[in-house]
Symmetry: C2
Subunit: 265 residues, 2 copies
């Protein structure tokens, strides 16, 4: 019998050309499809919640797929991790309703953008944060961040490479704080435009350096013009932390559940 | 005129066969010698403070070298970073006394051993921490750690591959604490035996899992027998954090000093 399985997927994006299938390039989606097809003997094509860019990392991206396999939904994490490369891990799996689609249901997702701000780059941070030696003013960045919270037209924070008509989005939270020697920009919201978080980060970086006044962010939003905002911050600093779905069914703690079945074996 | 220059060296040890020169292998020492020789036109051979193992990382290892170059001591960091690969960075450089030898003077060094303890490994942590899905009891680990502080014969915590006669060492501090989703073992002391910190970590891991009682650590020390202690924990979890030298001259904050000259250019 056919069932739909949801995976919580963590990855180090360094060595991949992003999530989405591409000819002649290794992507997260292509690796998942290949490993799932080998495992089940079916031809599996996953549907991803977020098609992250090349170099972007994830702790909790979501993928679903349909299968007739007799492997129980909650055992796919364990079975798949045996086949996946070390830089992709399944942190949870479970059966969901056959009509659950991770991009067509209401959800909230959280990103972190990490900045390592020091005299010299730290080699062990280079793949997972953006380095700058210019000191940043976190207070100014926090003031600017407050203007981004709420329902706004984020056209100024959308890559001109995409042709979306609706550019209004709801941002629930933008926090800027220090975590040891890194500055973290944590953003939660219901859907984001293409490159939106990286353009927000690039703009807040200019605020932190004193090149843009915090209040200017309101003007940038009002302008609805990509050229008004700061540059798109580099991909390596960005991590998709996780999803919350508004449907109750798919919103349990996958990892915890999977821990139990894993340790029971 | 000949002068001696001290470098503070940070590196991601993942892609190197450790610090020390080896035939047919890329090491931190070989890369530093090559880049310094190219930069100065002399044949430079650095002296390292700590000859870290393959896969071990550093935030503040120390190297000194002699040169007739007219580059001022504090400018070497900037000049070298232009030539070094991204996974090796010089965080500070300065001229020191010609008789300063980083292994023959009194010093204190600090290591961190990081453990990522969760149901599944996190891809972005895999190169810089040791993963275990077995829950660890930090209180038990802290109790055990206390037995390791002080002047002891650490023969049980020394790889049998080395033939040192004097196995008494002074450990100043062993702390075990949680840092977000990692458990950190932070060790400071004046000199360590071969693999000593990794064997301490491997032993504390067994304590955390409930396989060794904390009080047993006193017996392990007294036994002076490597087989009594836990296994050598994997290299990737270990980072040499930094050095303090007891001679006043070489003990300034290199990074801060170098930031100023770097930004002034």
């Amino acid at each position: 019998m056919m069932k739909r399985v949801m995976l919580t997927v963590a990855y180090d994006g360094t060595n991949y050309s992003g999530w989405q299938l591409q000819p002649n390039a290794e992507t997260i989606e292509s690796v998942l499809n290949r490993c799932l097809s080998e495992l089940t003997g079916e031809e599996i094509a996953v549907i991803g919640a977020s098609r992250t860019d090349a170099g972007v990392h994830a702790r909790g991206n979501i993928a679903v797929f349909d299968t007739r396999s007799r492997i129980p939904g909650d055992k796919f994490s364990y079975a798949l991790n045996q086949r996946l490369p070390e830089d992709i891990r399944i942190c949870g799996s479970k059966e969901v309703s056959p009509d659950f689609h991770p991009r067509h249901c209401e959800s909230r997702k959280t990103y972190e953008y990490r900045i390592y701000c020091a005299p010299f780059p730290m080699p062990t941070k280079r793949l997972y944060s953006y380095f700058t030696y210019v000191p940043l003013d976190i207070d100014l960045m926090s003031q600017a961040a407050a203007y981004l919270v709420g329902e706004h037209d984020f056209k100024s924070f959308c890559s001109v490479q995409t042709q979306v008509r609706m550019t209004v989005r709801q941002v629930d939270e933008v926090q800027v704080y220090r975590d040891h020697d890194e500055i973290v920009i944590r953003v939660s919201g219901r859907g984001f435009l293409y490159n939106m978080v990286r353009i927000m980060a690039g703009t807040l970086l200019e605020v932190g350096r004193g090149q843009i006044a915090p209040g200017k962010v309101a003007e940038i939003l009002a302008a609805r013009n990509r050229e008004m905002a700061g540059p798109t911050a580099p991909a390596c600093g960005l991590t998709l932390m996780g999803y919350e779905f508004m449907t109750e069914e798919s919103n349990e703690d996958n990892s915890r559940q999977t821990l139990q079945s894993y340790q029971g074996e």
